[in-house]
């Protein structure tokens, strides 16, 4: 029908340019496969770089500096009240952080010979993609890797289209510092962005439907964060639902179940993310979706039910984390190149970049018990850490879960500043099936927070 329709023939077509997609594409190219990435925005980085991990961490760093400066008054150093230039802050985040990384990815792609095509990709069958971009185009491939990621989930039952009601993407644009901000959702996104806005000056009210912040995370780890958040935020309502949102006179009126109506200047909806698996034409292929969540079903080699299609990242399910997607991307690339690769990772670390940070990997105490494992658990309070004292933070905790029978480290949870960095050693321990004794007998630099892992391990051996 279309005259002069372009058809490209490639070895691998990667759909989606996020961390899972570009990791897969780079590895495919390294393995000598001709590879294209089709990305709706025509760029590499995805939600992680443009509307997730990276910009949020840039803003959280600013928040950390502000609150650190405030705390410095206790130590006899007064910087005065911070004056925040939003324009400059936005520019720094957008150009110096996000822009720089985006340019870096683009040049890596170029160096590896990976072509990035802008446009919406739709599968016509198991070996053909139609790309609806500036021009209509088709790509025929031997293998495709679906890496379309996820998008913020809307608030069920509430339909208010307004600039004042933001999802995480909009909130990271930092349109203003609203006087009163309602955060709906006490998961990591709501807590991270709530922290940013609260530190920059908003009065933040957080509403969480369940009875605790960070549902599913070890309560021992959540407690120190909860104490801090209750101080930082104007209000935290647990076990509370938002039943209505109404825009009125430049404000948003929110009805909180059991609390009545309250007025806010802006609302952040952070109730989770959902897979971007619809509208891709997957029904024209053999790939199958799960009934719950519409995730693309894969096996441990990241293969879908269609022999031509692989899938990686958020679109394949929880945990929706960039680093899981990146590892899967490399597995998928190696697998379709005929290597015996498998996503057999035991530990996927998770980090909540709040203040204090929370990080964990492997099994929690509760998970280990529910598997019938006899556990030994050590909790090392940072109050006993020299390094924690020197930075004025004694509220941290390092928790070690070991299998009593074998002495293996099966899980670690950490709460405290820098937990996101500290979890790396723990992840290596769990992934390599290290023993508690291995951790205890490894020299840890003094004075550092990493000693807390060694201390926790030692206490189990005693």
């Amino acid at each position: 029908m279309v005259m002069g329709e372009l058809v490209d023939e490639v070895d691998v077509a990667v759909v989606g340019g996020g961390p899972g997609g570009y990791s897969a594409a780079f590895r495919c190219a390294e393995l000598g496969l001709e590879t294209v990435v089709i990305d709706a925005d025509g760029r590499l980085g995805g939600a992680c770089l443009f509307e997730g991990c990276i910009p949020s961490k840039a803003l959280l760093h600013v928040a950390a500096v502000v609150s650190e400066a405030e705390r410095a008054r206790e130590w006899g150093v007064d910087f005065g009240e911070p004056r925040i230039s939003l324009d400059q802050l936005r520019k720094w985040k957008q150009e110096r952080v996000v822009g720089k990384l985006a340019r870096g990815l683009a040049s890596v792609a170029k160096g590896k010979g990976v072509t990035v095509i802008g446009g919406r990709a739709v599968f016509e069958d198991s070996t053909t993609l139609r790309i609806e971009g500036e021009s209509l185009q088709k790509v025929r491939f031997k293998h495709a890797i679906v890496a379309t990621g996820s998008a913020p989930a809307p608030l069920p039952g509430i339909e208010l289209r307004s600039d004042r009601v933001m999802d995480s993407t909009a909130a990271l644009e930092l349109p203003e510092i609203p006087e009163r901000l309602l955060v709906i959702g006490g998961g990591y996104i709501g807590l991270e962005l709530g922290t940013v806005y609260a530190t920059l000056g908003s009065r933040v009210t957080l509403v969480e439907m369940t009875e605790g912040l960070l549902p599913g995370v070890d309560r021992d780890l959540v407690q120190p964060l909860q104490r801090r958040v209750e101080k930082l935020f104007a209000a935290v309502h647990l076990g509370t639902k938002v039943t209505a949102l109404r825009e009125a006179g430049g404000h948003v009126e929110a009805t909180l179940e059991g609390q009545g109506a309250e007025t806010f200047d802006r609302v952040l909806v952070a109730v989770g993310r959902r897979a971007r698996s619809r509208g891709l034409g997957l029904e024209a292929t053999g790939a199958r979706l799960t009934e719950r969540g519409a995730f693309v079903q894969i096996d441990e080699r990241c293969r879908t039910h269609d022999p031509h299609l692989y899938a990686v990242g958020d679109v394949t399910g929880e945990p929706m984390l960039a680093h899981r997607a990146m590892r899967q991307g490399k597995v998928a690339a190696a697998a379709l190149a005929g290597q015996p690769a498998a996503f057999d990772n035991v530990a996927v670390p998770a980090v909540v970049f709040t203040d204090p940070e929370i990080a964990w990997c492997g099994l929690s105490e509760a998970q280990a018990k529910s598997q019938g494992m006899e556990t030994k658990v050590a909790k090392f309070q940072w109050a006993a850490s020299g390094r924690a004292a020197t930075i004025g933070r004694a509220d941290g905790l390092t928790k070690l879960v070991a299998d009593a029978a074998s002495g293996r480290v099966v899980g670690v949870g950490i709460v405290g500043p820098g937990a996101g960095e500290l979890i790396a050693e723990a992840t290596l321990a769990v992934e390599t099936a290290a023993l508690v004794e291995d951790l205890a007998a490894t020299i840890h630099a003094h004075p550092t927070l990493s000693e807390s892992l060694m201390e926790a391990a030692e206490s189990l051996l005693a």
Partner: protein
């Protein structure tokens, strides 16, 4: 209190099995569902998983031994160390038997996806997405590098006993399990007592994997007719006596049974498959893109399934004791597959309900499982009619023997271009020789001729077979 684990009921007609490998050793603590033994029945080689978690106190069998259903295989000490809340552990040993049998086929089947570590440029067809691991079966303790080595060597880590600290599986354990330089078995006495190339060295299991030495020779089961004694052949020259493998003995027994019991009739016919052959050739590529290797056998199966619908007497069994014919309302077709170990007949389910592409897809997967020795019991039983296609090996015709207790079998030989007279002209046509052997007790020559010609006319009008191409 020790618990005894007996050979589970393996299903219809199977009363004994040969122990191929013992995958655990005395004193070892095993998890529920961990592979315990590998046995070979006359149908398949299967892994028997442990019904409970606990310490293996005594192993009562050795490889090569044939055991009857109900015989004690393993005694478990009280499963004190396995504190996992195990459903089976609570059950009595006998009660545990049936679910174990059910599991055995699943366990043998489940690892197919990871095992397909073959050239993955073409992933195994329809690889099922991984199901959640059963509760309690945690990850195998090994570093990522060791896990990669295991995948490269095709070793299923779950079957390897780790000798590292805390039970960690080391590179050397993996190499030993792969049967690499057998050298110093790092596992000491424990590893030594478990045959080194056990179930561990699975995936690239070459098709030539001759089952472990078959052990001492055993007499074939008799069927009432005693064969006369053999002469002393030694008087005419030197001879060698070789024990039959379990599979060979089974084939021998069943063929004797069939040939002795069933009055066989064979009907010959030929199908002009010139058009069908063209259709196959034209669609080869398209089918391949959909992951299917299109073969004549897939069409034969489809044709037979359709013909059986119209001739249910050939989709039946005879119950002489009851004086009844058992007509089967399902159509599961067996396909004879030659393997280096001997003839095996895997079964495709509900062939009459499937389009030809799907038949081709399942046939490909099934034949591969069979050749790799990975077929499960479920793959091999429940057939209602059998097709044996020896065309690849040449010949102009063969008279097959019925696969008891079925009542008919279709033999197919090589198709050859031949001069045929059509409307007074001699034209070259591709003719496929067919031989239908059936049980004269259930059908007569005329029935057989009608059934065969139904198959022929389906093959000659291939548009009736290919709804989905």
């Amino acid at each position: 209190m020790p618990r005894q684990f007996t050979l589970p009921d393996l299903g219809e007609g199977l009363t004994e099995a040969e122990i191929v490998a013992v995958l655990v050793h005395e004193g070892e603590v095993v998890r529920e569902d961990a592979p315990l033994l590998e046995v070979e029945t006359d149908k398949a080689q299967v892994e028997i998983p442990s019904p409970i978690g606990g310490r293996v106190e005594k192993i009562h069998v050795t490889p090569g031994q044939t055991v009857k259903v109900g015989a004690v295989l393993v005694t478990f000490a009280d499963g004190a160390t396995a504190s996992a809340p195990s459903r089976a552990a609570a059950a009595t040993p006998t009660a545990g038997v049936a679910p174990a049998a059910a599991r055995s086929s699943r366990v043998a089947e489940a690892p197919t996806a990871p095992r397909a570590s073959a050239p993955a440029g073409r992933p195994a067809p329809a690889a099922p997405a991984r199901e959640a691991a059963p509760a309690g079966a945690g990850p195998v303790p090994a570093t990522p590098a060791t896990r990669r080595l295991a995948r490269e060597l095709g070793v299923d880590l779950r079957t390897v006993r780790g000798t590292g600290p805390g039970g960690r599986v080391l590179d050397t354990d993996v190499q030993a399990a792969a049967g690499a330089p057998a050298g110093a078995a790092p596992g000491g006495p424990a590893a030594a007592s478990a045959p080194a190339p056990t179930a561990a060295a699975r995936p690239p299991r070459p098709a030539t994997r001759e089952a472990a030495p078959p052990g001492p020779a055993k007499p074939l089961a008799t069927i009432g007719l005693e064969p006369p004694p053999l002469p002393r052949f030694e008087q005419w020259g030197a001879v060698e006596r070789v024990p039959l493998s379990h599979l060979r003995r089974t084939i021998a027994e069943r063929m004797t049974l069939s040939a002795t019991l069933i009055p066989h009739v064979t009907h010959f016919d030929r199908a002009d498959i010139t058009d069908l052959d063209a259709i196959i050739t034209r669609n080869l590529e398209r089918a391949r893109e959909r992951g299917v290797t299109l073969t004549l056998t897939a069409f034969l199966l489809r044709a037979a399934a359709l013909a059986l619908r119209a001739h249910p007497h050939f989709n039946a069994s005879l119950d002489p004791a009851a004086g009844e014919m058992i007509l089967k309302r399902y159509c599961h077709l067996g396909v004879a597959v030659a393997t280096p170990r001997g003839l095996i007949v895997p079964v495709l389910r509900d062939v009459d309900a499937k389009p030809v592409l799907e038949i081709g897809r399942e046939l490909g997967a099934l034949a591969q499982r069979v050749r790799e020795g990975r077929a499960t019991l479920e793959d091999l039983r429940g057939g209602t009619f059998t097709i044996t296609n020896i065309g690849a090996l040449g010949g102009t015709g063969a008279i097959p023997i019925i696969n008891y207790p079925e009542v008919a079998i279709l033999g197919v030989s090589r198709a050859r271009p031949q001069a045929v007279v059509r409307q007074g002209q001699i034209v070259p046509r591709l003719l496929l020789p067919l031989t239908l052997t059936f049980d004269h007790r259930v059908a007569d020559g005329a029935d057989g001729a009608r059934f065969a010609s139904e198959i022929v006319s389906l093959l000659e009008a291939p548009e009736r077979l290919v709804g989905d191409l």
